[in-house]
Amino acid sequence: MPVVLRRLIRNPMALVGLAILFLVVAMAVSGPLLYPQGPWNMIGKPFAWPGEMPAAPLGTDALGRDILAGILHGSRVSLLIGLAATAAALVIGVTIGAVSGYFGGLIDDALMRFTDAVQTIPPFLLAIVIVVIVEPTVTTIILAIAVISWPGLARLVRAEVLRLRESEFVASCKLIGMGDARIILTQVLPNCMAPIIVSASIMVASAILTEAGLSFLGLGDPNVISWGTMVGMGRSDLRTGWYLVVIPGSAIMLAVLALNLLGDGLNDALNTRLHRT
């Protein structure tokens, strides 16, 4: 592991990504510390431009709420949704992919047809349908994003497991009578970690983008402020203050960029190690 980390740090792009991510986490942590009352308070006159009001360094929105408070608190929500949705998708995707790849045959066919079906429905449209049907809250948004994200991962895991199940490793484990579940969990999966980790990083980025898109369309949770919500709210007053959209929009872009850089870096670092073995 330390080898991978060292390789990662030597990669300048990955370093930039890590730095930005660190900043985002810092924002998330500092949010409740700097603005304990939350992002919803109306602190001053509406539509103040950044720099116009000392109390609100990034300006205020249509109802006089502090944009900086929104960005800091929003980072927690966006991160939470991104991580939780990805975690859920990982659980589902890895399980289905591993079972499908390991056991093959009819199980594989059935699971893959199901995966096909879910993948065939345009993902964003499916997310919209789910969120609208089941009332938009943070939980349902996480659920919807997880539902559209797991199929890709399942295929990836399946391909890896397919490759690994023919190896000598697994053959010898079977010979000594190890149970299937143990083989999958202790022998097969740990050797697939590399692509799963890389995928995870990309999936968090894509979850954040999807959440932003849903909030933009007015399908966010009305009781929390996320970056996507801020873009959605600012959109209706675009001509009056484009900073309302550009500031949270830049935050989204930076976070997604950072995650992609990290994913790329991880890919390089991990693959080199694989090639060595």
């Binding site: 109802l63 009305p222 009781n223 209706s236 007053d237 001509r239 009056t240």
Partner: protein
């Protein structure tokens, strides 16, 4: 010397004449008008639909019995004269001769009879209860229609604008299902414009009716209704001249005043008399805590209505004192109990009502719903949530789409507070009574009495007002009703909204009728670009 004086005088007169004619410009025939539609209509029959996008198009294709100027004086349209019997239970309309439907057939009293008894009468949500009084429409000859009513309906003569009391062709609609008749998508009317084309998702086009009964009109050759779903796009479109009219406050309100100040545009709030909408915060009276008037009155003090008017409605309107809009001068009064913005008083009243703060500072919890229309009600919900949190009422906002919201408020009734609004129309008997009348509590049917407010005195006031024709007597009853509404507070009235229209200055006569952009537009003309 004399000739010098004479020639100067003539020159002065000529100059004066030129200046005068520049002011009183004569209408010019020809040209096209483009109107921005915020949503694509589902069909074009305004008799069965009260949405803006249907009304604005249908109003040009059909005609009504009468028109109304900005002071609500009735003017002839399909009816050339009318006459109310002394007991108020019969109204006779004399109909215009020589009017033809767009398919060439003659307009007759049979069309009026159909429209009132089977068309908009039973089907238009706004004026159903007003016209439910009509027992029959007699048609002694093709140009006379006589309404026979069970009781006098004072508001009926105020309920006849074209986009509501739409006169439909009996020969096309009678004995068919009005909801699925294909003419809903290709309408045949008697109005100044004919339906020509519907490019789905894009635009609806209507063209001048060459057989329109007002000679020389309409002036316009064509009106194009462009579907522009995005608020910002609409503002940009009217600014750049791509569209001429953005109506019913469908440009960003924060942008509207800036747009109105541009040299090529103007902003007006005229022509929305039949809208007269009041935004409010309504309570579910069945709720154990909110069912108590003291609690409601306490909460009223926690809301700064001026803030909502200025920052959510951008100053377009006035602070409301009751669900009756101040524009309805014949009925409105502000001499009613009011609740000044005072957070401490709110807390004090809640303490007195025995809802003290618990150990965690919370008095009780609340869920806030709001009508998913535009973003003002969502913003109001957020604002109110903040205010309530500060006085110890732990509030949460809930988003629903339209279908869920309708079901929740009127059928499931699992709600506490709802941010919504009420369209008064042109008379409280039409728009307001239905919301507070105890006889209009119908679970499962939308836009009936949603709060389940019951008050015998209020019922009596409204019932009397709807049956009596004397304006002074009606006013007395309406004042009584407003006092009760302001005391019992089934809703906390917030803002009496003024809708606005942003129009390119090249368009003339766009808002000189009480129904403004929803009227026929036969008088509208445009200056060439």
């Amino acid at each position: 010397m004399l000739s010098r004086i004479l020639s100067t005088a003539v020159a002065a007169m000529l100059a004066g004449a030129v200046a005068l004619s520049a002011h009183a410009q004569a209408p010019v025939a020809g040209g096209a008008l483009t109107i921005a539609l915020p949503t694509e209509p589902t069909h074009l029959n305004s008799a069965i639909d009260t949405t803006q996008q249907v009304k604005v198009v249908a109003g040009k294709i059909f005609s009504g019995l009468v028109k109304y100027d900005l002071n609500m004086n009735m003017q002839p349209d399909l009816a050339t004269s009318w006459n109310v019997a002394p007991d108020g239970r019969t109204i006779t309309f004399n109909l215009r001769r020589g009017v033809k439907w767009h398919d060439g057939r003659d307009f007759t009293s049979a069309d009026v009879a159909y429209s009132i008894m089977k068309g908009f009468g039973p089907n238009n949500g706004l004026v159903r209860s007003t016209f439910s009084n009509v027992e029959a429409v007699l048609t002694p000859d093709p140009h006379t229609a006589v309404l026979v009513m069970r009781q006098p309906a004072a508001a009926l003569l105020n309920a006849l604008p074209v986009a509501t009391a739409t006169i439909l062709p009996a020969h096309i609609y009678d004995n068919t299902d009005i909801r699925t008749n294909p003419a809903n998508l290709k309408p045949i009317g008697t109005g100044p414009f004919r339906f020509v084309e519907w490019r789905r998702g894009s635009a609806i086009v209507v063209e001048k009716n060459p057989n329109y009964y007002e000679p020389g009109k309409p002036y316009l050759d064509r009106i194009v209704f462009r579907v522009i779903p995005d608020t910002q796009s609409r503002g940009a479109a009217v600014e750049s001249g791509e569209v001429d009219i953005v109506f019913h406050s469908t440009a960003a309100a924060a942008d509207a005043r800036r747009l109105g100040r541009l040299p090529n545009l103007q902003l007006t709030t005229d022509g929305y008399y039949f809208d007269s909408t009041v935004a409010f915060m309504e309570f579910n009276m069945a709720h154990p805590i909110l069912g108590k008037a003291e609690v409601r009155r306490a909460l009223a003090h926690a809301i700064d209505r001026k803030f909502i008017l200025d920052n959510i409605w951008m100053g377009f309107g006035k602070v409301a004192t009751s669900p009756i809009h101040y524009g309805l001068k014949q009925a409105y009064t502000d001499d009613v109990p009011q609740y000044p913005f005072d957070m401490r008083r709110a807390e004090q009243l809640l303490d007195e009502a025995d809802y003290k703060r618990g150990a965690d500072g919370t008095r009780f919890k609340m869920t806030i719903d709001f009508v998913p229309f535009g973003d003002q009600y969502a913003k109001t919900a957020q604002y109110v949530r903040q205010q309530l949190n500060q006085i110890g009422v732990q509030a949460d906002v809930r988003t629903s789409d339209f279908a869920t919201w309708v079901r929740r408020i009127w059928t499931q009734r699992d709600w506490m507070v709802n941010m919504s609004a009420i369209t008064n129309a042109s008379d409280p008997s039409i728009g307001v009574q239905r919301a507070y009348w105890s006889k209009n509590i119908v679970v499962g049917t939308p836009f009936t009495n949603s709060t389940h407010f019951r008050n015998a005195d209020l019922d009596r006031y409204f019932e009397q007002a709807s049956m009596v024709n004397d304006p002074a007597v009606r006013r007395r009853h309406f004042v009584g009703a407003q006092r009760i509404l302001a005391t019992e507070l089934p809703v906390i009235p917030l803002v009496a909204i003024n809708q606005f229209t942003i129009v390119n200055r090249r368009v003339h006569n766009h808002s000189n009728l009480a129904d403004g952009v929803y009227s026929g537009y036969a008088d509208v003309w445009v200056t060439a670009r």
